[in-house]
Structures are given as structure tokens and as C-alpha cells.
């Protein structure tokens, strides 16, 4: 019990003294996860909307697949990306393995199904409400996509946040493709795993507190935005 109290005290000291190592790890974590979420949103939002609006053979199977992929095991994604980026792999020439770029790629694969699947559901609901009116105004299905994405923006924020939660909390994929190299690819989750195994609980705890605080802050802000938007836009 004393060890725990001591560790928490030390963790708080690291946080309040703005320990450079800790800040570096937090900074890289944010850079990797935010980049991955941004890329996944760039692809996933229009992809989800297109699946919602267009009818094509195999659509239902694609919807089932997309929903299933939301639960992709991070270690499997890490392994596949590792094989792709390793020197003998098809993308080995890019030299991305054990770089933040590889970590971003792995997290994009993890986050993309979440963003696309939640976007598909939200857009389908909105389309059933808007379709007749938009067609009446002369909108094509393709032209309706940006309209629906904009009008569903506050709902879509939930999907993007779910993706950010997934990216910032996962450890398996970034550990495999990043290698947890100090000052290069060490992020909060891999550092927590390493420091815990080394018995350095204060740093692990400090990082844990930052991770938890970030998650609460991001979701709290999103909830405020959602409430405000509901009041304003209806």
C-alpha cells in the first residue's frame, strides 16, 4: 500500500514538474493518434456515407464486414503491418518499420472501420429523412454526400472520438510496428507496459493519469459540443 502511495506521489511530481521525458512521450502519442484519426476520418467519412447512400451488389456483406472489423485485434493488425513493412515485405522499400509513420499506418487500419461503420449508420438515418427533399431540389446521390456529412457533423464527432479512444488506448499494434524505441517510437501505452515490467511504477502511473485525463477531456468537450449543437441545430 505504501509503495502505491509513494508511486502516485512520484507520478504527480513528474507531472507537475513537466518532466521532459514524460512530455516527449505524451507529445509523440498525441501526434501519432491524432494523425491516424485525421487520416481515418478523411477516408472513413466519405466511405461510410457512400456505403449508406449507394446500392450495389455485395453492399450488405460489406456492411457486415465493416461492423466486424470494428473489433480488429490490435496485435493482429500490428503483425500484418509489420509483415507489409518489413524489409522483405511488399512495402519494405518505404523504410517505415519502427518509425512513427508505421505506427500511424497501423492505427489508421484500426480506426478506419470504426469511423466508416459509425458514419454509415448515421448517414443512413439522415438520408431516410433528407432523401426526398434533396432529390426534389435536384441533388444527385453523390452531391448529397457532402450535404449529409455537414448536417450530421455533430453525430459524426462521436464516431471520430470513438476512433481516437481506440487509437490512443491500444498498445499491441504500435508495440509491434514501432518497437517502443526510446525517443523515437515510445508512446504512452508502450511506455506504461515497459515501465510496469521494469518496476518503475511512478512513470507508468504518471502516463496513465495523463492518458485518462486526455480521454475524459476529449469526451467531455465532445459532449458539450453535442449538447450545444442539439440546442442550436435541432
Amino acid at each position: 500500500m505504501n509503495d502505491l502511495i509513494q508511486s502516485v506521489g512520484e507520478a504527480l511530481r513528474l507531472l507537475t514538474s513537466l518532466d521532459p521525458d514524460l512530455l516527449e512521450i505524451v507529445g509523440l502519442s498525441l501526434r501519432v493518434s491524432l494523425s491516424a484519426v485525421a487520416l481515418a476520418a478523411l477516408i472513413g467519412l466519405p466511405l461510410g456515407a457512400a456505403i449508406a447512400l449507394f446500392r450495389f451488389p455485395g453492399r450488405q456483406a460489406l456492411v457486415v464486414l465493416l461492423n466486424a472489423l470494428m473489433g480488429l485485434p490490435p496485435v493482429v493488425v500490428g503483425l500484418v503491418v509489420y509483415l507489409m513493412l518489413s524489409r522483405s515485405g511488399p512495402l519494405g522499400v518505404l523504410g517505415l518499420l519502427f518509425t512513427p509513420g508505421a505506427m500511424i499506418a497501423a492505427q489508421v487500419i484500426l480506426v478506419l472501420p470504426i469511423v466508416a461503420a459509425l458514419t454509415r449508420q448515421a448517414m443512413e438515418d439522415l438520408w431516410s429523412e433528407y432523401e426526398e427533399q434533396l432529390r426534389s431540389l435536384g441533388s444527385t446521390t453523390a452531391r448529397a454526400i457532402p450535404t449529409l456529412l455537414w448536417d450530421g457533423r455533430f453525430t459524426l464527432l462521436t464516431g471520430i472520438l470513438a476512433g481516437f479512444g481506440r487509437a490512443s488506448a491500444e498498445v499491441g499494434a504500435v508495440m509491434i510496428v514501432g518497437g517502443n524505441i526510446d525517443h523515437v517510437t515510445r508512446v504512452m501505452t508502450t511506455a506504461i507496459a515497459l515501465e510496469t515490467s521494469k518496476g518503475d511504477l511512478p512513470l507508468a502511473l504518471g502516463l496513465g493519469i495523463v492518458l485518462l485525463t486526455l480521454t475524459i477531456l476529449v469526451n467531455g468537450t465532445a459532449e458539450l459540443v453535442r449538447r450545444w449543437s442539439k440546442d442550436w441545430a435541432g
Binding site: E129, Y130, E132, Q133, R135, S136, L137, G138, S139, T140, R143, T147, W150, D151, W232, A233, G234
Partner: protein, 261 residues
């Protein structure tokens, strides 16, 4: 509020370069059948709607009034038969000529401001820049919503939302405006405001084709009446004649308040 449309009462809508367009009317339906899951909802309906008089479509619930508007507007395709605009056939749902606009019973407004709703409609019609601002402001002024331009559209009252739907149609300067029971959920004051806007649009040369359940409204607005029942056109003619001397037994029963089935 006294709507003033800038176009002269007899003018056809002008294109962006100021030239006057040829009318897309008459609208013709030839032996149109519309079926859903084997049920025949429109049953071999033929009609012709000309430029000019305000046409009101009357009939009991389930007669097919709303379907008729949707077929004419190209939102749904007939199972059989033809819908023609100035002898040109509509080939697919949503691909009809867009010199028409439609106002629905329950307006569907974007989750944006009042003026953004108009901007979106104008953008779809490729109206940009100063022209877009001018047409937006004119439509807001005409429908009494100028003071609410920056308000969220969905925070408006029911009557104001329907006026915004009319403003959206106004801004597009349609040749034909379909209205599907636009006042069925409104109080008398809002109904009057909507009727004034419809009158102003008619005065500016827009062909009005409207469905209603309200016989008082039909008497106020109609120049011509189409009476339909069970998906068939029963009677079409001048409003005065329809209300004073309905030709069919079904129309007589409808006007006297008997239940039709």
C-alpha cells in the same frame, strides 16, 4: 407581410443570363399506373395540366393525391404509363426537369441557419455569388423571414418552417410549384401567411399545383380542380363549376361531406 415578387405577373422565369425560358408545361400523364407490393395506388390515371390557372387536387385520404405530385415531380417512377413535360418523357426518378419545386406537408429543413438552407438550394441550382445573395435576400423578404436569417432553421415555429420551405422554392424561381397539403398542420394565421405567399408566386407567373383537404382553402385558391379517388381521375374542370355543379356522384358525395371509400 405583403409578398412582392419582382417578376411581372405574366413573365416566365428568366435564366441567369436574363433570357426567358420556354415553358416546360403542359404536364401530361398518360395511363399512369403506380403499384407497391402488388397494390395499385394509381390506376391508369391520365390528365393534362396547362400553364396558367391555379390547379388544386382534391380527394379523400388515400386517393393518391401526394403520389400524383411525386410522380409529376419525378420523385417516383410510374409502374406503367408516361409522364411528359412538354412532350418530353421523364426517364427516371429524380431526373425530371428541375424547373419545378415542391413544398411538402412536413418541411424537411437542413440543420443549418435559415439563410444557409436557401444558400444550399441555390448552390444545387448553380446560382453563385451576388446572384445567390440577391435571390436569397429577396426570398427571405418576400416570406417575412428576413429578420430570422441567421437563426437555426429548426428552431422556427411550424408556420415559419413552412414559410422557409416556400422561401426555398421562391429563391429557385420555379416554373411549376407543387405543394402537398402545405397548411395541414398550421393554425389559421400561419395558413393565411402561406396562402399569401402562394398567391404572390402565382401572380409572378409560377404555375401552382397543390393538394389540400381543406375545402375552404380550395374555394379560396383554386381556378381549376382535379378530383381524384382511388387512384383515378374522376373529374377535372373550372373550380366554380366543380363546387357549384360537380359532375360525378363521387365528387357530389365528397363535397357534401359523405364518407368515400
Amino acid at each position: 407581410m405583403s409578398p412582392q415578387h419582382p417578376a411581372s405577373p405574366t413573365a416566365r422565369p428568366a435564366t441567369r443570363d436574363g433570357a426567358y425560358e420556354a415553358s416546360i408545361l403542359p404536364l401530361e400523364m398518360r395511363e399512369v399506373v403506380y403499384e407497391v407490393a402488388g397494390a395499385r395506388l394509381i390506376d391508369g390515371l391520365s390528365l393534362r395540366i396547362e400553364q396558367g390557372p391555379r390547379t388544386l387536387i382534391l380527394g379523400p385520404n388515400g386517393a393518391g393525391k401526394s403520389l400524383l405530385l411525386r410522380l409529376a415531380h419525378g420523385l417516383i417512377r410510374p409502374t406503367r404509363g408516361e409522364v411528359l413535360w412538354r412532350n418530353r418523357k421523364i426517364t427516371g426518378a429524380g431526373r425530371g426537369p428541375r424547373r419545378q419545386a415542391m413544398v411538402f406537408q412536413k418541411p424537411v429543413l437542413l440543420r443549418r441557419s435559415v439563410q444557409a438552407n436557401l444558400d444550399h438550394a441555390l448552390a444545387l441550382h448553380r446560382v453563385d455569388g451576388d446572384q445567390r445573395r440577391a435571390r436569397r435576400d429577396e426570398a427571405l423578404e418576400a416570406t417575412g423571414l428576413a429578420g430570422r436569417a441567421r437563426q437555426a432553421a429548426r428552431s422556427l415555429s411550424g408556420g415559419e418552417q413552412q414559410r422557409l420551405a416556400l422561401a426555398r422554392a421562391w429563391a429557385l424561381k420555379p416554373q411549376v410549384l407543387f405543394l402537398d397539403e402545405p397548411t395541414s398542420a398550421l393554425d389559421p394565421a400561419s395558413t393565411r401567411a402561406v396562402e399569401e405567399i402562394v398567391e404572390a408566386l402565382h401572380g409572378a407567373g409560377t404555375k401552382i399545383v397543390m393538394t389540400t383537404h381543406d375545402l375552404g382553402q380550395a374555394r379560396r385558391l383554386a381556378d381549376e380542380v382535379l378530383f381524384i379517388n382511388r387512384g383515378r381521375l374522376v373529374e377535372q374542370g373550372p373550380a366554380d363549376r366543380f363546387f357549384e355543379q360537380p359532375q360525378s356522384r363521387e365528387a357530389q358525395a365528397y363535397l357534401s361531406g359523405e364518407l368515400l371509400w
